[in-house]
Amino acid sequence: MLASRNMRDNKNITQNITLLFISISAVIAITVVGNFVNTYITDVFNGAELQGFADGEMNRDFAQQIEKMDGIEKVLPVYVFNHEMQCEDIVFSRLEATDNLEWYNSMLNLHYTKKDMESFAVSEFSKTRSIVLSEDCLKRAGFRIGDIVTLANGVGSNSYAIVGSFKSRATDVEAIIPSAYAVSDFGASNYNFLAYTAADPDSIMVQIRDLFGSMQNWSRTVEEFNTDAISTVGAFLKPMHSMTYFILLLAAVGIVNNLLINYMQKRRTIAMYKSVGLSNRQNIKMTLIESFTSGMIGSFVAVTVSYLEIQTIFLVAGPKISMLPELDFKVFLSAGAMGVLITLTGSVVPIIKSRKMKLVEEIKFE
């Protein structure tokens, strides 16, 4: 009862709760979003069959040499049109052309909007001028499955039937058409991307790099890609994680400072309590209850707001990232516990000072 009365209208306690809220929610947000980014980036090719890829100018002969390499299993060469293919009123940021949509689907883990759409699209690709679009692109352009659209790139133009839509984390392609028509309608000559599977992807990659020689390319096995991604993301996340310790340190200093100010302002009141019989043991209990309660309130508010904040972030960004975060409640609980621990630790000095207090000096004069 006395602890709750002491907390009422106490600005230092309010400031501590605010400090805890700000610091803990920052720590949680950084940790959760950081962990998510790490998972998200290294999880790009999860479920995709490809084990390596080459990004660069490759002619037919180049692709055939790869197909003949020892241990190679599947080779999927792709034509790429970056920001050059007009489709009605929009320009595709990236259109790719393949002669094997079935392999393309498995290599890049395409998820079709409807169950039967994939087999239909594969079948149509071999027969007619057809196009599959990413769900985002379909929505953006306002097209529907079955629509006939005109593709044009300055070299030529022709009508294509939309036969499917998909989502994929392994590629940011907006549209896919059959290779044969990319060559005949739009003058595609060299491949720009090639995905492969092999018994020994590393060995194939060494040979691909040899084939490129000094030609510009960006070729990686999936394993190399993931290692690069972890390293790059880690370079950003490491200082951010370090910042969480700094934030907690700042909060701890602020909270300890507030508790000391609170003690200075309450010295006389503590002395009054002691003069009517408050023992040191009771004072310790009262101080710890105050600290624990303010720590709990600050931590609870921070954890709740952080949870809602993170949910909001992923709700807003959800359609773009097609992956939900795995919220590790250990992160929330440990951040909250850390807040309580800081306030409890911060109350040690006021407790020691209260014990050493000279009662008469505090209460004799106003």
Partner: protein
Amino acid sequence: MKSITGNIAIEGKNIVKDFELGNTMTRVLKDVSIKVLKGEFVSIMGQSGSGKSTLLYILGGLDTPTRGTVSMNGIDISKFNDEKMSKIRRQKIGFVFQFYNLIPNLNVEENIMLPLLLDGKKARDYRKQLDEILEVVGLTDRRKHTPRELSGGQQQRVAIARALIGNPEILFADEPTGNLDSATGSEIMDLLRAINRDSGQTILMVTHSLEAAKSSNRVITVKDGMIV
């Protein structure tokens, strides 16, 4: 002999108190001995710096003597640890200060009940006692007010009620009228006198005021750290 000891509310023997001021040690009380009998109303007078308040605080257990003993009911309390001393303050002693020393965020009732609450007692078991004491100090209609909503005289009445709620064996008062105007001061002294007269409450009071001291049965004068 047994009956005399049994009649003593508090006794200080050969009390010495030294204060360190910088590098200088100052002796504020010089081998002071004092007895207060049960039911007595004793005033301690003396000039500023004479040591009278220090004597009161040592006898009341708020300070410790450098040497000497303080006995309550024949038991030396001067060496008690914090836990035991706090219990004495809750159960055996009531204190009234010049500046009231009420807890600002507790209302009148809560301030009065504080020693009982700290002693682990339940407020609801002491409603009758609270009502009676509020009646005695004339604050029945102010029971839910906080100290800042009361006048100085009313605050001092609350302090007196708080000091008396646990039926203490002795009430210590350190210049209880020192912060009040003369009319209010007289009212407070009338109240203390009535409490002593009607319920036999032992009171030991420090005062500068001769007028206030007239309320007591006995006056002790302290000069230069000694009783004269």
